[in-house]
Symmetry: C2
Subunit: 404 residues, 2 copies
């Protein structure tokens, strides 16, 4: 009982046809026109017209048909594919210590990549913009082209990002709050930039290249300096109304509990984040001697009771948070995605075991939990995929305007 | 970058056209053929063919055009509407004390309603089925027709329900777990029954008739014997993969906390449910004298410190749970829907005030929180709406099969 019919003009239909056909070609890697018509329900005549337009615009190309013995009898079918050379797209992921950059062609093939260390994790806006430009210039140089050769840039930022407005409410990478980061970056970059919360882009990368490939409803939890979440529902990133949903790290796990870096009490991050673990260790020992989670970890393994107690509680709080995610979303899969050895205590079988005890018990298999040990470059690839998507949709809009 | 094109045959397209056209007519109440074509993008010729078929099947009817002075010049347009007499649909909501039933026509106009008290809240499956049949017979009698005149029944049940399979993992209304309730009810009922978690049907009712009318992304929280949640994303009920998501009442708000009726510890329900409040009051006073939440409430208002402390904690735990929902979903609206006076402490301004303090603070307005004091009959209307939807989609499928 949907309550309203979508109004769509013939122009809208043509535009959505272009997008749909490009999506089908991208998904299939290579596909004949007649199969595009079958897959989309668009009439063969319209498919021919639209693909002619996409060929003329240089977005797709024809490839010579493979002559198989079966095919030899009929007329060989020409297949279409995305034209890699159509665009160069960059993807960046900014963490506290490094800017990871990857540049791909329009198909998504990697052309160059680079990891640029950061001295300061939290920066003024102007410096942040400078570092992004530097990272891009370095990576382009590696690929023997220049920053002016890029058609679009995808950027993953930690924190609360309104992707639609390219607006950052808060990020641990920026000193200021409520930053129109899109506008600031536009001043130093030669092409459009599309940004999102970094965990959302990990979710996108998992969906396109990783553990979420076969799955349209899953949750990605990322553990780095903070705890992030990306939600994929029906194959789409769920962002919330104001672009600041999925704040898993700031869900409260204890009424009036431990103080969080966000200023509130009882957030999950305030129990499992590295700063939280070190803070507790230093308070308990009455010193400032604990400065590394790895060392705290080592101490626990060597039988230090205090260290063990701190890590045990973190593990249990994290399991409880995961169980809450299952109780609310009931996803097919939960992917714990990240690369930090220091968070092994959160990736252990024990966490998953405890989570299983705390989810609502029904006579049906529990969601699969997968630990996926990815490097930051894979996050950057997710950002590049986002850039490809946005550049595609802009190009489709431009074609629509040109044909009006 | 969608990864697969949907395969759709001309038959599929015809079926989705029928559904789309019925949806548009239902939404518009009455609409001319040419406006259906505009609203759906379906060609006028196809609209004419499909509406002829729907008229012949008795699902829609023509209504005489109103002759306005403006319209007098052209040919008057005949409008189409859903034919109320096409089907009679029942909606039921089973709570711990009462079975609420409403019967509507195919338009959704109420024909009869009835509230049948229940002596036992938790029943064997056979008795549950008998009570459902009794409630339906009573209500049909009031409307001067019989149970055999019904085309379909929507049913809201508390607990974990896999709507697709009509399977109940657990419900406070049933003694057994893992019940194929659809099959059991089919044996005593003359027409198809469609069931869902009751909070989902409240969410549907809010979307169709209530506070969610103007809104496609909202959360409904229901407070009755337990705490329920319905999630509406992009206008659709979100059910989770196994049909047991949205278990807000069983999200953990305290590690190894209070014991819940589900057998686990630290669930929100174990702090805010009526049984939880009375249990704490009786433990604290070392007696069994507390048997009503209303009395506990009265005591708190008269200055009883213990009662006040119990209700205060419940309120704060509930606010924390709500803040977590905002932090994860970032919805446009949260609707607190229910009719129980005994839960006033959870509906207070103070809860909303505390929730506001505990959500992630960004420079954007918070979701609206609305308290909606609805009776159980409105929940039953949501169940009827679900029945109408399902009967419509079955009828569309039958037309498709008939035309193959």
């Amino acid at each position: 009982m949907a309550r309203s019919g979508r109004l769509s003009s013939p122009g809208d239909q043509r535009e959505s046809g272009r997008q749909q056909i490009l999506d089908v070609i991208r998904a299939a890697e290579s596909i004949a026109r007649i199969d595009i018509a079958k897959a989309t329900g668009v009439s063969p005549a319209t498919v021919t017209a639209i693909t002619a337009e996409l060929l003329a615009a240089g977005l797709i190309e024809e490839i010579a048909p493979e002559i198989t013995p079966e095919a030899r009898r009929g007329r060989p079918r020409v297949a279409l594919k995305i034209r890699g050379a159509a665009h160069r797209i960059a993807g960046l992921k900014v963490s506290h210590h490094v800017v990871s950059t990857v540049i791909t062609d329009f198909v998504g093939e990697e052309l160059a990549s680079h990891e640029m260390p950061l001295i300061k994790g939290t920066m003024p806006v102007a410096e942040f913009c400078t570092q992004i430009r530097r990272a891009l210039e370095f990576t382009c140089k590696k690929g023997s082209f220049t920053i002016d050769d890029l058609s679009g840039i995808g950027l993953g930022v930690a924190g609360m990002v309104d992707a639609e407005r390219s607006f950052v409410y808060w990020s641990s990478s920026l000193e200021a709050r409520n930053v129109d980061l899109g506008a600031a970056l536009a001043e130093v970059l030669p092409c459009p930039i599309f940004m999102d919360n970094d965990a959302n882009l990990v979710a996108k990368a998992e969906h396109l290249f990783g553990e979420g490939r076969t799955c349209d409803n899953f949750i990605v939890i990322t553990i780095e300096h903070g705890v992030g979440m990306g939600i994929v529902i029906d194959g789409q990133i769920y962002r919330g109304t104001r672009g600041c949903g999925a704040e898993f790290g700031h869900t409260k796990v204890h009424l009036e509990g431990a103080l969080c870096q966000c200023g509130q009490r009882g957030c999950l991050e305030a129990y499992v984040g590295d700063y939280a673990l070190l803070r507790e260790a230093n308070i308990s020992s009455g010193s400032e001697r604990h400065t590394s989670v790895a060392a705290l970890f080592g101490a626990a393994e060597n039988g230090d009771k205090m260290a063990k107690s701190i890590l045990d509680r973190a593990r249990r709080m994290f399991a409880m948070g995961l169980a809450n995610v299952v109780n609310i979303f009931d996803p097919t899969k939960i992917i714990l995605s990240g690369a930090r050895l220091s968070f092994d205590h959160l990736y252990s079988d024990k966490v998953i075991e405890e989570m299983r005890q705390w989810v609502v018990q029904v006579d049906a298999p529990l969601p699969e939990v997968i630990v996926h040990d990815w490097g930051d470059l894979m996050w950057a690839k997710g950002a590049a995929a986002y850039g490809i998507e946005e550049v595609t949709s802009r190009t489709v809009k431009e074609l629509a305007n040109a044909s009006v």
